[in-house]
């Protein structure tokens, strides 16, 4: 490597075709300083592993997209994305767990105590009636939360349900507007050494050299693996997926159903429904399908950033799309990279911090997924056995133990899933605290009872008055088209 480590980082090369590449390039094109040249190469092949991103985002997508030059009206008008209150789990485990893992703003605090402790105090078993987003999802209704809090509807946060093709295209378009277009070319060879990548040779013989290489090539991690960064393998899963046309969006919720061999997801889009079945590759014979299968190994690289090459998304690590974890992690990877854009070719400080944060984020996101398998009874087939046969994770054990003991949420540093996510998950999995925060006893039981009953009633009334997801989407689309001067 040339001895020019004090020279400025002026050229970034991104390699990849799928969602990770599209989102990374858009974010860089919008937010990186103008003196950095961005080159985007992709093989031009489809990215079938994009199905493992799960097709659902959390509410954080709104801000992420805006910063990457993709505003919500475009998401609605130019992609098949629909609104999402979260994921409904059904037939989960032999006990046939059934709940809606919905997005929710921070829970109300009454007299210094989180409201869910009052549920325990009053012996109220179900949390769901108190979540606007869950009840609305149950009724197939949707409406944007109003600005300013205080109402039941303002507590219903939402994300998006999407198909990678049309959603990813939004980011590619944004990148194009900022002058970055994909160069379609296979990579012929990667010239690498211990310190990093020296150059990339394209199929036509052209050589590319950059100060920073971003690997968005999916699980194969073409660039990062050339630096001999090993992959810490977890279990392997397979999926078959397709999108069926539909007249209009169904419920604003993705439905995941457990079955003997794994699970299936049904994700309503604006004009279709995405269907996916996930199973253990060993169960192939038991799955009746003539759709082509995609397989992936879960797990992460020992380091996401090595030398002058940083992996984003599946190139760094793969999580099962049982929750929005894959998209949360992808967004975080990109934001983390932006906050640690190297200044010079000497990037050890950025690399170390990125890897530290990545390891935490991956682990913490994985905890949330693993929580779905912490239950008494699941089918005894390859998929479930592999998912449950993992060494105990101390952090997860601690979280569950503290919740079951006294409804305490144990939070680790900068976790991607918050207190509300975890509380709803615990309730959905049938976990209840044995005790509640005793400070709750300071409030008068009558006052608390009335407060909770009122909360429930307000939610029921609000949801009854909400339009169906389909009608709302039709109205919104008409409105946005008029705003843009388009014919409705």
């Amino acid at each position: 490597m040339q001895n020019t480590n004090n020279s400025k980082c002026q050229h970034i090369v991104i390699y990849g075709d799928g969602l990770a590449a599209q989102m990374t390039v858009a974010a860089l094109a919008t937010q990186a300083p103008p003196q950095i040249k961005i080159t985007w190469i992709g093989s031009g092949n489809a990215a079938p592993e994009d199905v493992f991103y799960g097709g659902v985002t959390t509410p954080s997508a709104y801000d992420f997209n805006l910063a990457a030059g993709v505003a919500e009206p475009e998401v609605v008008l130019e992609s098949d994305a629909a609104f999402s209150y979260g994921t409904r789990y059904t037939h989960w485990g032999l006990a046939k767990g059934n709940w809606i893992q919905s997005f929710h703003v921070p829970f109300p605090v009454i007299d210094g105590v989180l409201f869910n402790h009052y549920l325990s105090q009053q012996g109220i078993y179900e949390l769901e009636p108190f979540l606007t987003s869950a009840i609305a999802a149950k009724n197939g209704a949707f409406a944007h939360p109003p600005e300013g809090g205080g109402t039941a509807l303002s507590r219903a946060e939402y994300g998006y349900q999407f198909d990678s093709a049309t959603y990813g295209a939004l980011f590619e378009k944004s990148a194009g507007k900022n002058g970055v277009k994909k160069i379609v070319s296979e990579i012929s060879r990667i010239e690498s050494e211990s310190a990093g990548i020296r150059s990339i040779v394209l199929a036509d013989g052209q050589t590319l050299t950059a100060d920073l290489y971003i690997d968005c090539s999916g699980p194969q991690a073409l660039l990062l693996s050339s630096l001999k960064v090993s992959f810490q393998k977890g279990r392997r899963i397979a999926a078959v997926a397709e999108v069926k046309a539909a007249a209009g969006p169904g419920a604003p919720v993705r439905t995941i159903s457990g079955n003997e061999f794994g699970w299936t997801a049904e994700t309503p889009l604006q004009n279709g429904v995405a269907l996916m079945s996930v199973f253990d590759p060993e169960s192939q014979g038991d799955i009746q399908s003539d759709l082509s299968k995609v397989e992936v190994t879960l797990g992460c690289r020992e380091a996401a950033w090595s030398g002058n090459c940083v992996a984003i998304g599946q190139a760094a690590g793969v999580l099962e799309p049982l929750t929005p974890a894959p998209m949360v992690l992808l967004q975080r990877d990109i934001e983390r990279l932006l906050s640690l854009l190297p200044i010079t070719r000497e990037m050890s400080v950025e690399r170390r911090e990125f890897n530290r944060l990545y390891a935490d984020d991956f682990d913490h996101a994985d905890l949330f997924n693993r929580s779905l398998f912490e239950g008494p009874d699941f089918p005894d087939t390859p998929y479930w056995r592999a998912a449950r046969h993992l060494p105990a994770d101390e952090k997860l054990t601690n979280k569950i133990a503290q919740f079951e003991s006294r409804g305490l949420h144990v939070a680790y540093d900068l976790e991607p899933f918050n207190q509300e996510d975890w509380t709803i998950m615990h309730y959905g999995m049938g976990r209840r605290p044995a005790r509640y925060d005793r400070i709750a006893d300071q409030a008068s039981p009558a006052k608390v009872g009335a407060y909770l009953a009122n909360m429930r009633r307000e939610i029921d009334e609000t949801v009854k008055a909400m339009p169906s997801h389909r009608i709302y989407m039709e109205g919104l689309t008409r409105f946005l088209k008029q705003q843009n001067g388009l014919r409705p």
């Binding site: 980082c9 937010q31 990186a32 300083p33 103008p34 003196q35 950095i36 932006l338 906050s339 640690l340 854009l341 190297p342 200044i343 010079t344 400080v349 950025e350 911090e353 939070a411 540093d413 900068l414 976790e415």
Partner: protein, 85 residues
């Protein structure tokens, strides 16, 4: 690069860290490259406006001792006696 390692439950917030570092003459040699997106003139104007507002607010604030005396709470004044009515 002036990067602050943030911990979610850190006892001290980022501004405290900036102050303690710079107070001990630890100045970053680099900065977040994204800052280059802001035109220097805009930055100078924003910084000058901030500086002016702070100065105006401070100049308009009373002297510390005078402020305390106003409440009758300074040690060289008599004890505070609650008045009925």
């Amino acid at each position: 690069r002036g990067h602050l390692i943030r911990y979610e439950f850190g006892v001290f917030l980022p501004p405290s860290w900036v102050a303690v570092m710079m107070g001990q003459n630890l100045f970053p040699t680099g900065y977040d490259p994204r800052a280059d997106r802001m035109p220097t003139d805009d930055l100078k104007q924003k910084a000058e406006t901030m500086r002016r507002h702070i100065l105006q607010s401070v100049d308009a604030s009373p002297d510390h001792a005078a402020y305390i005396k106003q409440f009758g709470a300074a040690s060289d004044t008599g004890p505070i006696v609650a008045k009925a009515g």
